[in-house]
Amino acid sequence: MIAPVLEVDGVDVSFSGRTVLDGVSFEIRRGEFTGLIGSNGVGKTTLLRVILELHRPDRGHVRVLGESLSGGGRSLGYVPQKVLLDPDIPMRARDLVALGLDARRYGFGRRTKAQRELVDKMLDDVDAASFADARVGTLSGGEQQRVLIAHALISGPELLLLDEPLANLDPRSVQEIVALLHRVASDNEVAVLLSAHEMNALLPVMDRIVYLTQGRAASGTTDEVVRPEVLSKLYGHHVDVLKLHGRVLVVAEPGAEAPDVPDHPPVTVT
């Protein structure tokens, strides 16, 4: 049997006594597009940092392609939530993408023609060719996302992690980035794990959802997970799932404390 691309098994994380992740387990298979859904502060970034081995969990382990990851060179690509790129630094989009190829390499040596062509192809793939020579810091949020995705993908990873790539984008850019990610991921046969606090934009492309709340996770297809029984158990109190016009709303019952229902501020249904 082929090992899953990513295996998260019983991961516990706490910060100074406060439990952030509590026995989180799930798997991602080759080429799957997975949404890591949860509201702000439920530990999505922490989970991604554990997967990247930037944070050591108190218990549990993470395997990438059946092995524990060391370094995160080839098999993982990562797009962090906030990269503040200074407009005063003359780093062009193409420079940043090229660094995705060889930033770990010590030593001299110019890039080969094949490498430069790969950079061009990658920029083309994410529709960034038109601003390839602009300073990255002067680009819009959506444009920077494209460049960072190209930077993460150029080393040919099996798994691409993205931390809230849709936050702070206007609705049109959200749709563009989601479509682009879906296309690029299936073209390159890369599995995607994307964190978001809003699942609706991802519904058309998600193969799998990992729903995170109060430190616990439920995973499966959207139909398996986004159901009142499953989510109520996860939240520890009753929630309803409304499907309207192809959108999903998770709604807490009146009076229930639901501090972290994603998608929207707590809604009271009367």
């Binding site: 060391s70 003359p90 660094l99 002067t138 960072l148």
Partner: protein
């Protein structure tokens, strides 16, 4: 040409030594300075100058060469700052401030002792403001080796250093050791500060480190171009400063000439101001298309060079 190059300029031994040392210093400072600006570590660079002052004044007290003191002070201080400060910008800032304060206090003591024991104020002047014309030519080989080693180390780590400078998070996610890269860079920074301390003085060395690099970053489109431009700016500024200081003896025959450091720092400052002018910035084409902006630099550079000034 007589009005520009005073008689004896090219045949003077001290001038030649100064030109070689100044040129090397400018190149190392420009390359290190470009990374320093990109990494937003100008403050660390400045703090290192204070630590270098401590080293230099301490060396003077012990009868060692100032260069030994500047470099030793910088390496120890830089290492301390990097070890205390973790990767977070704030604690790095605080660590820098703490080391800076302690070092400056020691400098006050050492400079006081230097002045009282040698019964002259020469030491203070030499350490703080440099004395490029009095450097013994026997130190040239040491300076060549230090410069080459620093450039070599930076060359070897340039890709990991660059990504970690642009985004520590992206670098860490790729498995780059921020600590190793940061420490090696801090050592390079310490050497650069040490070299410019003997040329233009410890407290002025920040000017040569940051000035040409910051100017070049404003008017270029890629880091490679910025580094080349910073080297050209730094070297021509330093040489022009040496020339003007040499000539300044004849402006006022009763004086011994004005300090080189003043001229270098003044030119660095003026160039930085000029690079802020909108028409110069426009040449750099902040967004795609257009020709590479490096073309803007040689033109300006020519004006700053001795030959350009003679026309």
């Amino acid at each position: 040409m007589h009005f520009l190059f005073e008689p004896g300029f090219f045949s003077s031994g001290p001038v030649r030594t100064a030109a070689v040392i100044g040129g090397l210093t400018a190149i190392v400072s420009a390359v290190v300075g470009t990374f320093t600006v990109v990494r937003s570590q100008s403050f660390a660079g400045h703090a290192l100058t204070d630590v270098a002052t401590t080293g230099g004044s301490g060396a003077f007290l012990l009868g060692l060469s100032p260069l030994t003191g500047f470099i030793a002070g910088g390496v120890i201080g830089g290492g301390a700052m990097e070890m205390i400060g973790v990767e977070r910008a704030r604690s790095r800032d605080v660590a820098t401030g703490i080391v800076l304060g302690a070092a400056t206090g020691l400098s006050a003591l050492f400079l006081y002792l230097d002045a009282t024991r040698s019964a002259s104020t020469g030491a203070t002047q030499q350490i703080l403001f440099g004395s490029i014309f009095t450097i013994d030519s026997s130190t040239v080989p040491t300076i060549v080796v230090l410069s080459a080693a620093t450039l070599l180390v930076l060359g070897v780590i340039h890709r990991p250093l660059l990504l970690s400078s642009v985004s520590a998070e992206l670098a860490a996610a790729r498995g780059i050791s921020l600590r190793v890269v940061g420490l090696l860079f801090m050592l390079a920074l310490a050497v650069a500060v040490g070299l410019s301390s003997i040329s233009i003085g410890s407290i002025l060395s920040t000017a040569l480190l940051i000035g040409p690099a910051a100017t070049a970053l404003r008017v270029t489109r890629s880091l490679r171009a910025a580094m080349v431009a910073a080297c050209l700016l730094g070297v021509s500024t330093t040489w022009l400063g040496i020339l003007l200081a040499y000539d300044s003896v004849s402006w006022d025959p009763s004086s011994q000439g004005l300090p080189v450091s003043f001229f270098i720092v003044a030119i660095v400052f003026l160039l930085y101001l000029a690079s802020g002018l909108s028409f110069v910035r426009g040449l750099s084409g902040r967004r795609g298309g257009g020709r590479p902006a490096l073309g803007a630099v040689p033109a300006k550079d020519k004006d700053a060079s001795p030959l350009g000034a003679a026309v």
